[in-house]
Amino acid sequence: MPDGQALRRRAEEALNRKGAFGKDYDLDEFEAASRERDSYESLEEVSPEQKQTMMDVGVLPEAEDRSGSLVYMDNAVVHQSSADQGLELIPTLDAMDKYDWLSEYSWKAVPVDKDKYTARAYLENANGYFIRVKAGKKVKFPVQTCMMIDTEKRTQHTHNIIIVEEGASLDIITGCATSSHANESLHLGISEIYVHEGGSLNFSMIHNWGEKTGVRPRTGVELGKNASFVNNYVIMKPAGSVQSFPTCYLNGEGASAKFNSIAISHPGSEIDLGSQVVMNAPGTAAEILSRSITLGGEMIARGKLVGNAKDVRAHLECRSLIMSEEGRTLAIPELEAMYPDVEMTHEAAVGKIAREQVEYLMARGIDEDEAVGMIVRGFLEGSIRGLPESLRKEIDDAVNMANVGH
């Protein structure tokens, strides 16, 4: 367990370390967003505009069919509520005060000196959400969290820790967004996720940023024996520069992880998404599925599978549609194996929408725009099973709005 002094030293040394991927941000150009904001007893109290921002990323202000809600605005927790026994949902800094043992989890799955973004989040003593599901507890409804940047030219940093104990299960829906008056801002989001033996976590995220917002999430996931983790990530609207490459370590035998990402890159956007699964224990399994479209922006789809133990199975699939003469798509699938007894495969495909498919639907009396929309929707969400309704809706809305038929 690294002590505070050592962490601080490592963070300070990493303050100028550029990220491995994505455009570099000069952190000195941004002031930290406020840590003081009015809090809300109920999410119904937020402004109509903020309410809309939340709903657009799948966060329900009335919190119906949700086990708990936490909203982080700029750098302050402005709302938290949880109504389920065995489920704890509190600000990370409160949890650190409350539990000494939490230092064993903090800055473990994500190294503090990974790059300047993790270092800055540490040095700012970032708050965020702490979610813990006690052993054996199956949380019925999803927990919802929302990260909202509400001030222009500011940095939001968050440090989230999720612990799913032995045999417990949880669904999380998290929406990240900028409000309309915060465009050129920066989001540094650290998430450390631990699922213990036999536990399961289904984590779904919708991103909805401003056209100039910089987004640098840093996520680490550790899974114990027979634990399972599903990560769904959806970004459909224009964003400045998003670069994310979560790493998941399958440390216990029989653990499994699945990463699904669905993205549209609009003109002017730089979307660099990937995920990495490191299979450290025998009998583990991983799947990375990526579906993306460029409408004129930059779209990079990375994926890396590392077979670090015997009898592991893993598959990686990147498919990308190019729907504009502008823009660029880059698919980078990687497989690395240290043992012969592994079954690891990948496929990547980049191309335009098949004219033959469009005409086939048109021959059934479906007009061209609708035909293209149906094919694109199918392409984005069709092959990913178990996508929550809110994510599906976001995709449908985006395909309709993007008017991809033209």
């Binding site: 098949a354 004219r355 033959e356 498919q357 005409e359 086939y360 639907l361 048109m362 021959a363 059934r364 009396g365 479906i366 007009d367 061209e368 609708e370 035909a371 149906m374 094919i375 929707r377 199918g378 392409f379 984005l380 969400e381 069709g382 092959s383």
Partner: protein, 248 residues
């Protein structure tokens, strides 16, 4: 119903149809015979309007309207429907959603699919992993829901086993000859069809009124379907050329 005049069509810069004249009168079912590569499928696909087929000369009249340059969906909307031999897969699109989008909502999808043993396929992606017979039934399901008044059927019996061909044949018969007429609001419209057949087996199920033989991108001969089929079976397609030459 359908009139084709001096139709010339290119595919990838190569002329495949070289002056086709053909007519399908209202209420008639016509069959189209021809050896491999003669231009049968090209003709059907051109009538439907698929983009790969470039009309360089001639015209297509449908219900008295010149549709030579109409888009595919417009042709479908005014009552044309096609059963493809090798339709594309569409990953992620459920057959149910395609069928519902094709229909105008007054036929029940489940019921129609049930009659074709296709109910369990409604949740599957369109054509993905379908066998030859399943593709035919899926095409037929889409056509039934679409309710056209003019049918283009591209070798409906190919790739189908003997048992399924009976179901398929009977369903095609019902589709072409039920007295319900068209689902389209086009007033008095009697169903017509142009059917490609290689083996003639589909003739056991439909009452074909006329037959055309196409070869080398031209209609070589026409006549009564059974007579022409017998000639082809006995003497091959070569005779049709002679027959054409005699006429000339």
């Amino acid at each position: 119903m359908l009139q084709i005049e001096d139709l010339h069509v290119e595919v990838d810069g190569k002329e495949v149809l070289s002056g086709v004249d053909l007519e399908v009168p209202a209420g008639h079912t016509c069959v189209l015979f021809g050896p491999n590569g003669s231009g049968k499928s090209t003709l059907l696909h051109t009538i439907m309007g698929f983009g790969q087929y470039k009309i360089t000369k001639g015209r297509i009249l449908f219900l008295g309207r010149d549709i030579t340059h109409e888009p595919i969906d417009e042709r479908a909307r005014i009552g044309m429907g096609i059963m493809l031999q090798r339709p594309p897969n569409i990953v992620g699109l459920r057959l149910n959603d395609m069928v519902e989008a094709a229909g105008d909502g007054h036929l029940d999808t489940d019921e129609t699919a049930g009659a074709l043993n296709m109910k369990s396929f409604l949740e599957r992606d369109v054509n993905v992993g379908f066998s030859g017979g399943e593709i035919k039934r899926s095409e037929l399901l889409q056509l039934i829901m679409q309710e056209p008044c003019f049918f283009l059927l591209d070798e409906p019996e190919s790739g189908v086993d003997m048992e399924s061909i009976d179901l398929l044949g009977r369903k095609i018969h019902d589709l072409l000859y039920d007295k319900k007429g068209c689902g389209w609001d086009k007033g008095d419209c009697s169903k017509s069809a142009l059917v490609i057949t290689h083996t003639g087996r589909v003739l056991d199920y439909i009452d074909a009124d006329c037959a055309y033989v196409i070869r080398g991108g031209r209609i070589m001969c026409s006549g009564r379907p059974r007579d022409i089929l017998r000639d082809i079976q006995e003497r091959g397609y070569g005779e049709c050329i002679k027959c054409r030459m005699v006429k000339l």
